[in-house]
Point group: C2
Chain length 315, copies 2
Amino acid sequence: MSAPTLADVRAAAARIRPHILRTPVHTSDTLDRLSGRRLFFKCEMFQKTGSFKYRGATNAVQKLDADTAARGVVTHSSGNHAQALALAARVRGIPAHIVMPRTAPAVKKEAVIGYGGRVVECEPTPAARQRMADEVAAETGAVLIPPFDHPDVIAGQGTGLLELLEDAPDLDAVVVPVGGGGMLSGYSVALAELQPLVRRFGAEPKNADDAARSLATGVRQPALPPASIADGLLTGLGDITWPIVRQHVERIFTVSEQQIRDAMRLVWERMKLVIEPSAGVGVAVVLSDEFRATAAERVGVVLCGGNVSLDKLYW
Amino acid sequence: MSAPTLADVRAAAARIRPHILRTPVHTSDTLDRLSGRRLFFKCEMFQKTGSFKYRGATNAVQKLDADTAARGVVTHSSGNHAQALALAARVRGIPAHIVMPRTAPAVKKEAVIGYGGRVVECEPTPAARQRMADEVAAETGAVLIPPFDHPDVIAGQGTGLLELLEDAPDLDAVVVPVGGGGMLSGYSVALAELQPLVRRFGAEPKNADDAARSLATGVRQPALPPASIADGLLTGLGDITWPIVRQHVERIFTVSEQQIRDAMRLVWERMKLVIEPSAGVGVAVVLSDEFRATAAERVGVVLCGGNVSLDKLYW
């Protein structure tokens, strides 16, 4: 499987248009003042299932031929991709098997079930997840749709960039949160071909900075043990996303847990948007001292999702 | 001072257009399903200063002639009108004196100061507030801009209705939270003249149901002692708003504190919008059993503001 191109992203946009929401771009005088720039926030928390993941899942599911699709899809994820794939499958009218560790919070299982997915529990280890997903695939004939390291998923995530450019022309840079690198890759391949002078940056928690160190050293680094509230960004780069990031991303900025919490709170408070910690990471980057030296007047920032527990405060 | 008309609302819309945000209308499959209708949420939490109050304050301030304006404006409020008037005055380049009880939370005083207003403290009684406001007016020549019972304020609040009708045509009903009745009056006078068949409803906490009882009995009832988390809706109807509400509003629905909290949480969780309890009141009404019998397929609901403390959970 090879890296998608701008043409793939455009084809994905046409394919998923009937199914996704076209999310708006919001601005904020307060955040402009604090950052010393003009910021354009792509509001992916408004996307169906509450995150950008619905784009990639929908593209992958809709692209399947009818016979393959009929056998269903399977993934192992306890995060936003799980919900996204469950709904994308329901919309196509096919089964979705979501392998989740039996220790995953009940609310996450219920969300998947609410979108029509079938939760398959496994032991909470990466090996057990993979084994269970393979078993489900063998039993049912379902196709594995991984959360990020797949050309159709990457191309789907890139469709947000096409919308962002329509609403915020003449950008000087984009800042995209990076976990496995699906969205960062999708945005970067499309942007490099479409508007190569727009600078492409990643945003990552300091406590999960494997992508930043991968890019800085030129050698892909493994994911660290989970130690950030930005639970969407804990994964390492994949076989497909890593070469794209290496080639097309200029730099990945990192921010502390406190910076993430502060940024998240600021967006809730001033922009009235419920964003999850992973989305706070991009905001924290453009407000950081480290980013201040970056020459870029107009900056696009992706608010990647808004799926948070409302049973606790994050600050 | 007499009741504003549709022409006043239209003039207000033209007057304030350069200064306000045109707020979007959001929809939600989940809330449509729960309510059994199509709901169109007017997102006033995105308005400058975080509530619809900026419309009325801006209209009143911008309408002043230059000599009067130069002497400044004054109000007594510790709520959203205080912040709205402070910013509206700063935009016009005139002083705003905001009389607040010395017991008001520091964060509310800081918000007013942040928007360029001057906070004048008084004892925490209605009489002391009024006396202090009169004193400030006498000393400075500033004009009193009350929070709701003023034709220019009412006309300004009504501008939201014109936008709502543009984005959500063919409504069968609107549901507007009511405290002093500024927004409900503005929406109702404009709608009665423009699309008289659209049903006009108010939404009020059960624990502050003076407007509901006023409309039901035909006799204006005084405000109750504060007993609702919907702190924007604790005021009684005014000399100007009461006759408008009596003439143009069909019914005011009331909801419990638990219904308000549940509705507020639902909007945060599913729509990713930070709304304040007062905005939850309108949502709670359209989800209530009591409202279920109301014939109305397409209903506009005003999410009036999003100014909440993020230091606590509301549920």
